[in-house]
């Protein structure tokens, strides 16, 4: 399973936090990979529409995540606007944000 997660928006545009992060489940610690695989299932990710959540009129500084997952010939991209109300999608996003957090710190910006 290949996962790409990209953060957009937020109170500031911060280059180091707005890069896409690509990772394969096989490269993660097994426990973390299992949790993500289960969560992708539980969230029915491949059946989700392209956008989840709509910004209210006048909303600002909200974060959105663009999440693409490929697995066994299937591929889906979903834009998730925070706050994500759906519990199973939120749980999936939480797990992926942990991976993102580790990746951000491990791969400093080239300057």
């Amino acid at each position: 399973m290949r996962i790409e997660l990209k953060r957009e928006g937020g109170l500031a545009f911060i280059p180091g936090l707005n890069r896409p992060h690509v990772f394969k489940l096989g490269d993660l610690p097994p426990a973390q990979a299992d949790a993500i695989a289960r969560s992708v299932q539980a969230a029915s990710f491949f059946e989700r529409p392209a956008r989840v959540g709509t910004a209210s009129k006048g909303a600002a500084d909200q974060t959105r995540y663009v999440l693409t997952i490929e697995d066994e010939g299937r591929r889906n991209t979903v834009q998730l606007l925070e706050p994500v109300e759906d519990p199973s999608l939120r749980a999936l996003l939480d797990l992926l944000k942990q991976v993102e957090r580790t990746a951000v710190r491990a791969a400093p910006q080239s300057r």
Partner: protein, 386 residues
């Protein structure tokens, strides 16, 4: 109460300089207050000073007071979301209640208060909608949540992850920033995309910074002009999220990268990201405001703030307003408030020129509204010479 061409209720500020409003509200004699409050019987909402305006919505002094209410109506509610991402959470502090000892709760409460006070005491505006809207903030949102946002009706603050960011209530200007989005939505709106979106963002930085400067009683030359000072964790190489004084210099860090804000049109960033660079190109109008405020000296919320506030309320501010049009509107506002050819008008024009947004007198038709309720001089009655 009036209905503007945009069907938007406007308060006294529409027609009188705000310091006059403030003066009536705060220092009016009891007789003046009584007289004003008597007339308010026709407007039993008792919410704010309402004026009758002419059908064209033109602003001139000396209109009839329809109602007045001299007390502020700040009403704050702070909710603790307790690490969840659902609303509203638990109500932990309401208006008038004492400090809780939870820093995020108390900072949010104080920040909302400081923002309300700036709007009411300086601009005569009763909350972000000018109708006494109650202010709700939700703190401790999510786990390690690195953001603060305005969802269209409430402010939401994360605690930060502690490695990159501290709690988002730590910077009072960020609280003012989020609330000001509500004000811009009410007055503008300015669509959240490209130049109009960058103006929307800049408006929030301007009023957010003014909230901080006023809370610290700082003149323009003493202020740091940073947005989000204290927000970056100690390991990060940087001092804030943005600098209005020197856009592009707020941080330069191995993890976060370098502050991408331009301070001049020649460095304008064209991008599809960030809603077309709304948090990036806001550096340009931010710096223009900084230049006006420092050129004029004194407290930035006084003259420079009034000019920007007047511009935000101008009916010519369209939702898709670009920098050039906004610059003209601020110049018209400066001339209307302080007179044509004065130091204010010059400072505004110079500032926009310095950031690469030339603004000329052309197309700037000005109806000068003299301050302090002095009757506007009538147009010349002399007929054109044959």
């Amino acid at each position: 109460m009036i209905l503007h061409p945009r069907w938007h209720r406007h308060s006294l500020h529409c027609v009188l300089p705000p310091y006059l409003l403030r003066s009536i509200a705060q220092n009016g004699s009891s007789a003046q207050r009584a007289a004003a409050l008597r007339t308010s019987a026709v407007d039993n909402t008792f919410r704010s000073l309402r004026f009758v305006s002419n059908p064209l919505g033109q602003r001139s002094p000396g209109r009839v007071i329809a109602g007045m209410m001299a007390e502020s109506q700040c009403y704050r509610s702070i909710y603790d979301v307790e690490g969840q991402e659902t609303f509203p959470g638990k109500l932990v502090r309401s208006e008038g209640q004492g400090a809780t000892g939870d820093a995020a709760v108390d900072e949010a409460y104080d920040g909302l208060g400081a923002t309300y006070d700036l709007l009411w005491e300086v601009y005569g505006r009763n909350s972000i909608d000018d109708s006494g809207l109650r202010l709700n903030a939700h703190v401790h949102y999510g786990r390690n949540y690195d953001n603060a946002f305005w969802d269209g009706q409430r402010m939401v603050f994360g605690d930060g992850d502690g490695e990159l960011f501290n709690r988002f209530t730590i910077a009072i200007d960020v609280i003012g920033h989020e609330l000001s989005h509500g004000m811009t939505e009410d007055e503008g709106p300015l669509v959240y995309f490209r130049q109009a979106g960058a103006l929307n963002e800049s408006m929030s930085d301007v009023f957010g910074s003014l909230v901080k400067q006023r809370a610290l009683n700082q003149t323009a030359d003493k202020a740091d002009w940073l947005i989000g000072a204290g927000l970056l964790a100690s390991s990060i190489q940087g001092q804030a999220l943005r600098s209005m004084k020197s856009p592009g210099t707020a941080y330069d860090d191995p993890v976060l990268g370098k502050d991408p804000q331009p301070g001049h049109m020649r460095d304008f960033v064209r991008t599809w990201e960030d809603n077309g660079g709304v948090h990036i190109n806001s550096g340009i109008p931010n710096r223009a405001f900084f230049l006006v405020a420092t050129q004029l000296g004194g407290y930035a919320w006084e003259k420079a703030g009034h000019i920007w506030y007047e511009a935000l309320r101008d009916t010519r501010l369209r939702p898709d307003c670009g920098f050039a049009r906004f610059a003209r509107i601020t110049l018209m506002a400066a001339s209307r408030l302080y007179g044509e050819g004065g130091a204010e008008d010059t400072a505004v024009r110079d500032a926009w020129n310095q950031v690469g947004v030339p603004v000329t007198r052309e197309k700037v038709a000005v109806a000068f509204t003299p301050p302090q309720g002095v009757q506007a001089s009538k147009p010349s009655t002399r007929r054109p010479q044959a």
